[in-house]
């Protein structure tokens, strides 16, 4: 089976979808000749032509808004936001329009579209090329919000997202694009939206995470194992709808829980996970629910010292796990 990194898996997913269904098209800044600034769409304009691979004007609200219109008329647009930091001008179109179209029209109209965006830090992107702003969309019923952490999942989830009849926000961690390779089948397969995965089984505590942080959690778990602590790592994969069962089942088993995320700590996605546990598994807990998260500062600084300081790391996660085991 071919081995692919995440960016290749994503490009392959788009290619497979475009080959199978001529309603699928892509639009975004530099997605055409340039193949996207991360090369997620490389070669597609040559293959599918300018009318299905649109180098859009530099205007995110229009990228989302025009994609909504395309979807209303039966196309299956995949819109790319060049960086998740720059999705903000499109937030009105996404939240007011895409997320509410089916609901407000009582099922008469719908918006089957995907919005892809590279997010996350640790790539020397400074304040505006490192953000993790998924909270905005996770709080928004009518949307789905997906964040893969492996090449295999990225392809399978993206194919699910493209086929999904509702708008899906699809966040790809920039640092994962080329970090890991694994076997990724050719052709069509899907990973279902809304299902978390136990990335590593364990009995002593549960670390719940998504995106790059899953790998940091796994590293931490490996280190903890050396001291005889068996951490279970849950990869959420989808933030909305959240797979409560997988989370709660794990926590009920281990009796200790920690959420790791890179977004600002306050009201980041981990707040919801923690609240769910506090509501549904409180009597199972032997320890407080910890959060290891991005700092509560406006965004991740550029210089490497402060970038590291901002981000959760395997070491920080392991330390928190030790504290959790001690309480």
């Amino acid at each position: 089976m071919p081995v692919r990194n995440m960016i290749d898996a994503i490009r392959d997913a788009i290619d497979v979808a475009m080959a199978a269904d001529d309603r699928v098209l892509i639009l975004g800044e530099d997605v055409g000749v340039r193949g996207g600034v991360f090369q997620a769409t490389k070669g597609l304009i040559e293959k599918y032509g300018e009318s299905r691979v649109i180098d859009s004007p530099l205007a995110e609200s229009s990228i989302a808004g025009v994609a909504i219109g395309m979807a209303l008329e039966g196309l299956r647009p995949i819109a790319e936001m060049q960086f998740a930091d720059f999705i903000l001008p499109a937030v009105n179109q996404i939240i007011s329009e895409a997320a509410k179209m089916r609901y407000r029209s009582y099922n008469d109209y719908s918006v089957p579209m995907v919005i892809r965006a590279p997010f996350g830090g640790g790539v020397h992107g400074g304040l505006y090329h490192s953000q993790s702003n998924e909270t905005i969309f996770m709080h928004c019923p009518g949307l789905k919000m997906v964040v893969p952490s492996t090449p295999y999942d990225a392809k399978g989830l993206l194919l699910s997202a493209i086929a999904d009849p509702d708008p899906v926000v699809f966040y790809e961690h920039k640092r994962l694009y080329r970090l890991i390779k694994e076997e990724v089948p050719d052709g069509h397969y899907t990973v279902p939206i809304g299902q978390a995965k136990v990335a590593r089984p364990g009995r002593d505590l549960t670390i719940i995470s998504y995106g790059l942080m899953v790998h940091f959690a796994l590293e931490a778990a490996a280190a903890l194992a050396k001291d005889g602590v068996e951490a279970e790592v849950v990869d959420l994969r989808t933030l909305l709808p959240l797979d409560q069962d997988t989370v709660l089942t794990s926590v009920r088993k281990t009796k200790r829980a920690m959420v790791v995320y890179e977004a600002n700590r306050t009201l980041g996605p981990g707040a919801e996970v923690s609240a769910l546990i506090a509501e549904h598994a409180l009597f199972d807990l032997d320890a407080p629910v910890l959060r290891v998260a991005g700092l509560d500062i406006p965004a991740m600084p550029y210089n490497q010292v402060q970038e590291e300081f901002f981000l959760p790391s395997p070491d920080k996660i392991a330390k928190a796990a030790e504290a959790l085991m001690a309480s």
Binding site: P57, S62, G69, M70, E73, R104, S105, Y106, N107, P141
Partner: protein, 334 residues
């Protein structure tokens, strides 16, 4: 001075000419009734098309049923021209079960109905322009001769999406009819505080796009200008920005008091230019209408409205749990 006989635009039959009048009349009478229902506490909210009926019915009449229409909250005239019934509009007005627009989820004035190829709108101004552009992109990609038509107020043109939509449509020469119903105010804010130019149509040049301003109270002028723009779109010659100068003769909505921001003289002057009265005269001059028919038709419409009021008033609200449906595509149908 001998007045020249009014001439019907090409492509409009006598029935078509009369139908336009009837649609305008339905819009007016229904709108008036909604205000009285609001004033007696039967419904919390009205937003009104009064004064803009010629603009609305005029541009909508230039389209085919298979074209896509993206109206804004003031466009009851458009909804009526497309075929939404008095009964349906009254159910929406009361927020009742069976409202085809949103089944009582949205405030009145939020039109949308797949049967009529009329895309559902939100309360958020101008966003719909981009939807029309996307729809038109799909039409052009499929080499259809359909067009998308989208309406908005002149105040809303200050929003960034206005610019982004015109920019896209012009780059890709898409078949879009952009209709600005310029009634001179955004709630209380007069046009001179909204923009430095006198005509919204002047903005079209910034996109190498035709921009046209016409008297929005002259329904046949509106119709003709819209037809020309629609044909341009069908021919593949790209979008048009059409500005209709008109006026809303009532407050912005039932929550508004327009006396604080405009003089009664101004309102009166515009009432003298009432689009329905004007068009009635035209039809009479054309020999297509008379006072008797007018009375009969008004009575018919009023009767239909009263029946609709009664039905909508009695109709149930949607069930509470119905609010949980259609967040996602979990079920078919409605």
């Amino acid at each position: 001075m001998a007045k020249t006989q009014p001439k019907a635009p090409q492509g409009l039959s006598q029935d078509g000419l009369v139908q336009i009048y009837k649609d305008m009349l339905v819009a007016r009478l229904l709108d008036e009734r909604m205000w009285t229902l609001n004033r007696i506490g039967k419904a919390p909210f009205v937003i009104s098309c009064q004064g803009q009926e010629a603009s609305q019915v005029g541009w909508a009449a230039a389209l085919r049923p298979d074209d896509v229409v993206v109206p804004y909250y003031r466009d009851m005239g458009v909804a009526i021209q497309r075929g939404m019934t008095i009964r349906e509009l009254m159910l929406a007005f009361f927020g009742k079960q069976g409202d085809p627009n949103s089944n009582g989820r949205q405030m009145p004035g939020h039109f949308g109905c797949r049967r009529l190829n009329m895309v559902s709108g939100s309360s958020v101004v101008i966003v719909q322009m981009l939807h029309a552009v996307g729809v038109a992109y799909a039409m052009k990609m499929r080499k259809q001769d359909r067009v998308a038509a989208v309406a908005f107020g002149e105040g809303a043109t200050a929003e960034g999406d206005f610019h982004e939509a015109l920019n896209w449509a012009s780059i890709y020469r898409l078949p879009v009819l952009f209709v600005c119903e310029n009634n001179g105010y955004a709630i209380s804010v007069p046009q001179k505080k909204e923009m430095a130019v006198e005509n919204v149509s002047e903005r079209a040049r910034a996109y190498d796009m035709p921009g046209v301003t016409v008297d929005g109270n002259d329904v046949l002028a509106v119709y003709e200008a819209a037809v020309e723009a629609v044909e341009r779109g069908r021919r593949g010659d790209g979008p048009t920005l059409l500005e209709l100068k008109t006026y809303r003769v009532v407050p912005h909505s039932s929550d508004d008091d327009d006396r604080v921001y405009r003089s009664r003289e101004e309102v009166e002057a515009w009432k003298q230019r009432d689009p329905i009265k004007q068009y009635q005269l035209t039809l009479i001059e054309m020999g297509l209408w008379d006072a008797q028919r007018d009375q009969a038709v008004r009575a018919e419409i009023q009767a239909e409205i009263e029946a609709a009021v009664e039905e909508a008033d009695r109709a149930p609200f949607p069930a509470a749990e119905d609010a949980l449906r259609f967040v996602y595509a979990d079920e078919e149908g409605r």
